[in-house]
């Protein structure tokens, strides 16, 4: 749908707005901003055709820092607002910026519905496992036991796994990345941008002030090797400094094993379009320390996007009935004349 016109070559600078960025020093949001500012100019889409729509939260300040069309809306509703924007002008590439509270607590309902409808939105959910903007309350992704201002004795809510939620809702493109792995993050964003349909990216993001170190177990480049499972389509599902560990079937489940000569042949291969969705689902349920944390693209399966279906019906209706004629519509039905 989106044409790349002969507009001048864009650079990162073109996407930096004149507004001072006001996140806390050290906040993970900075690198996510930088990553998107790197990705957008590479897509061959004129700058005016991007719309970035956010809810409310630290993360949702994002649009102010991008020199594109932007809409900082209300808490939890960015997905619903973006649905209207995309339907009204399918020619736009619409990005949604949301947080774990914004997208999965107050906006959880809308999140389910945009994903099931396959609205062509690129959704980035900043998961810092905390409400940042309101200064540190537990969120729907906070682990049980987390002590926050509103859970002084520890959180008793069982957390949601964003990637699992997105898969369950039927999202076509589901991925996870980490704020401090810029290379990985940009590659996932690029793939999402090129995907037609709902693309959901969870970014594990560090809130230095209210939940510092939430993702520490696999944050550093060293620990990553051991504790993170990089998902690459068509590649074996292995991890560890020397790829010495791998995933194999164990009954209906998947087991993590030390690879040896006997089981090497059984190591599973990642398939983002695996038909049943079982692989993506099972991987989405992996959690540290029992299992490595998968990052990368869990699933990528295209089907007709919502706006295509909506516009398809409009085209069909016009084919069948002609372009609407107001005069005829006004005079349609049983009429009578007084003279």
């Amino acid at each position: 749908m989106i044409e790349s016109s002969a507009s001048p070559v864009l650079t990162k600078k073109d996407f930096v707005s004149d507004q001072q960025v006001k996140w806390c020093p050290g906040c993970g949001d900075y690198s996510i901003l930088a990553a998107l500012q790197t990705v957008l100019p590479k897509l061959g889409i004129p700058k005016e055709k991007f719309a970035i729509i956010s809810g409310i939260g630290c993360s949702s300040r994002f649009p102010y820092y991008m020199d594109t069309y932007g809409f900082h809306t209300i808490h939890g509703r960015a997905t619903a607002i973006a649905t209207g924007t995309k339907l009204a002008n399918p020619d736009l590439q619409v990005w949604v910026i949301t947080g774990d509270g914004d997208g999965l607590s107050i906006g959880g309902n809308h999140m389910l519905h945009v994903l099931r409808r396959n609205v062509d939105l690129k959704i980035i959910l900043f998961n810092n496992e905390i409400y940042g903007l309101t200064k540190g309350q537990f969120s729907p992704t906070s682990p049980m036991g987390l002590k926050t201002k509103t859970s002084p004795m520890g959180n008793v809510d069982r957390p949601l796994t964003p990637v699992s939620v997105a898969l369950a809702a039927g999202a076509g493109f589901v991925a996870r990345s980490v704020d401090n792995d810029v290379k990985h993050l940009t590659s996932v964003m690029e793939a999402a941008a090129k995907f037609k349909g709902s693309a959901f990216i969870e970014v594990l993001q560090n809130c230095v002030i209210f939940n510092d170190g939430a993702h520490n177990d696999f944050y550093g480049s060293l620990s990553r090797k051991d504790k993170v499972l990089y998902l690459e389509n068509g590649k074996p599902l292995t991890y560890g400094a020397n790829s010495e560990k791998g995933l194999v079937h164990k009954g209906f489940a998947i087991d993590c094993v030390d690879i040896d000569d006997a089981n090497r042949g059984q190591v599973l291969t990642h398939d983002t379009s695996e038909e049943t969705g079982t692989l993506a689902w099972t991987l989405s349920q992996f959690d540290y320390p029992e299992r490595p944390v998968p990052v990368g693209i869990f699933r990528s399966v295209e089907r007709p996007a919502f706006h295509e279906l909506v516009d398809g019906q409009i085209a069909d209706a016009r084919k069948a009935r002609g372009n609407g004629d107001l005069d005829r519509l006004l005079k349609a039905g049983v009429t009578w004349t007084v003279d």
């Binding site: 069309y69 009204a88 002008n89 309902n109 519905h113 909506v310 372009n323 107001l326 006004l330």
Partner: protein, 624 residues
Amino acid sequence: MSDPNSQTILGPDGRKDAIELHSVTIRFAGDSGDGMQLTGTQFTDEAAFVGNDLATLPDYPSEIRAPAGTVAGVSAFQLHFSSQDIKTPGDDVDVLVAMNAAALKVNLRDLHDGGIVLVDNDGFGEKDLEKAGYAANPLEDGSLKKYRLIRADITELTVRAVEPAGVTAKNAGRCKNFFTLGMMYWLYGRSPDNTVEWIRKKFGKKPDIAQANEAAVIAGYNYAETAELFETTYVVPKAPLTKGTYKRISGNEATALGFVAASVRAKKPLFQGSYPITPATDILNELAALKHFGVRTFQAEDEIAGACSAIGAAFAGNLAITTTSGPGLCLKSEAMNLAVMAELPLVVVNVQRGGPSTGMPTKTEQSDLLQALFGRNGDSPMPVIAAKTPSDCFWAAMEACKVAVEYMTPVVLLTDGYIANGAEPFRIPEIEDLPTIEVVHADDPSTFKPYLRNAKGARPWAVPGTPGLEHRIGGLEKSSPSGAVSHDPENHQKMTLERQEKVASIQTHVGPTRIDGCHEGDLLVISWGGTYGAVSTAVDRLLAEGKKVGHVHLRWINPLPNDLEQVMDRFKQVLVPELNVGQLKLYLTGKFGRKMHGLGKVMGKPFKINELVKHMNVLLETKA
């Protein structure tokens, strides 16, 4: 009948003497499976063909699957047709058609003394009486003495009449509504021909059903004549309506049509984001069927998403609307405020129903006025317009769109269950007679500033996709005119006042107060919304009696016409009748610090003309 000034004339076709009447109100009542709405609309169409003025009001049961034969399952359709200009579906009923005991029980209270009650004996069996909660058969215990009771074995006669069509026994019985319709056609000297033609078209694919229904309507007509059930027939001559082509339209249909017309006039695609809710759903149904106009209807997951998607569409340059009823308006309020702050055009339709909470979904009320005006956090001015009749919904919808896009503001359009479901003749306008709607999109990067206001106080509408105008909007306060986020105290005060002034300046569009009746005198009646028909008819009656009464019907409630206070000053007393416990009155009192009388009614029903006349007379006599 209710007309004290009747005149007997000779009926057509050598028929018996017919009595000429000015107007008649009939209510067809039966079980929700009895086809009363269909019967009523058929009679209505015939009245329209004859040239009567008319107004109709359906009364659906609130429970979809209420047990057959019970009072909860009664469905009714009321029709007022006249040789004069009429504005309401009628106060009291002249003729009540009751297909079963429950229908009689629910509706009898609205039949005036001496009125005709036509019943189907077959709907008054022991079981029917029991289900309706009758201890004794009202047809036989003398309790209907006040009325002219006409009894017929309608079901049995129908079954016999449709026998040749060879339909099943069950389907045969279901034709009884057409039999009844035939009887009523005879009573009012109307021909069944158009209905027969309609039946043939409608049931063309099921010839046996078509034949049965046709047989039933003819049999009913002939039976009424030969059985001499009625003492006489009646004639209601055609009304002196303004020249033109008409069609019958309900308020919801008119609202939907008005939005399509606005979209055509504004040359902007229409986007509707809505969630189903009684009595607003029909607007969504209507527009969903008009995709060939480029209309995008989005059935959202809730009212919040409905409003939000519309805001998103407005951001992208569509003519955006969201439609709902009371509880849905509650859910939309945060989004409406976003539209206030972002200054995006949006029309929010609230088809009011009985509240609070779920209240009385199928019953009418005007109790969301203060919510529409003030039900949001912050100083949040929003223009509010209210439609006054079913056909006026068309014009009000267009006007709401015009103001929304020309002033870059959300607008609330209030209708109510009564005018939404009620119907009346709509004089079909020519396209060139429709209001123009001026849409200007910003496109010049050298002059563009997101909050640089024009002469109307509107900020520019710059839509994504326009090169060089990339900018950010949102719910946070913005500085004027740059659009950057601002917490500056002076700026907030300035922006708050600018938003207020912009909405106040819509007064230019609203124009001066329109007064009907006396322009000064003893009593000024100020009404709004769907009570227009009853209030203006009541005022007309008092004027005919020589009373010094004036009537102002407010179309825009925010902003008000700027001379309203002076108009009030010219009257000794002011009365504000409304279907709530005093919301417009509170608003006007607050604005003008002036004493006025309120008249409230919250019974889920519209005002009756008589009760208004009575109340106004009491005020006129006491001369406060």
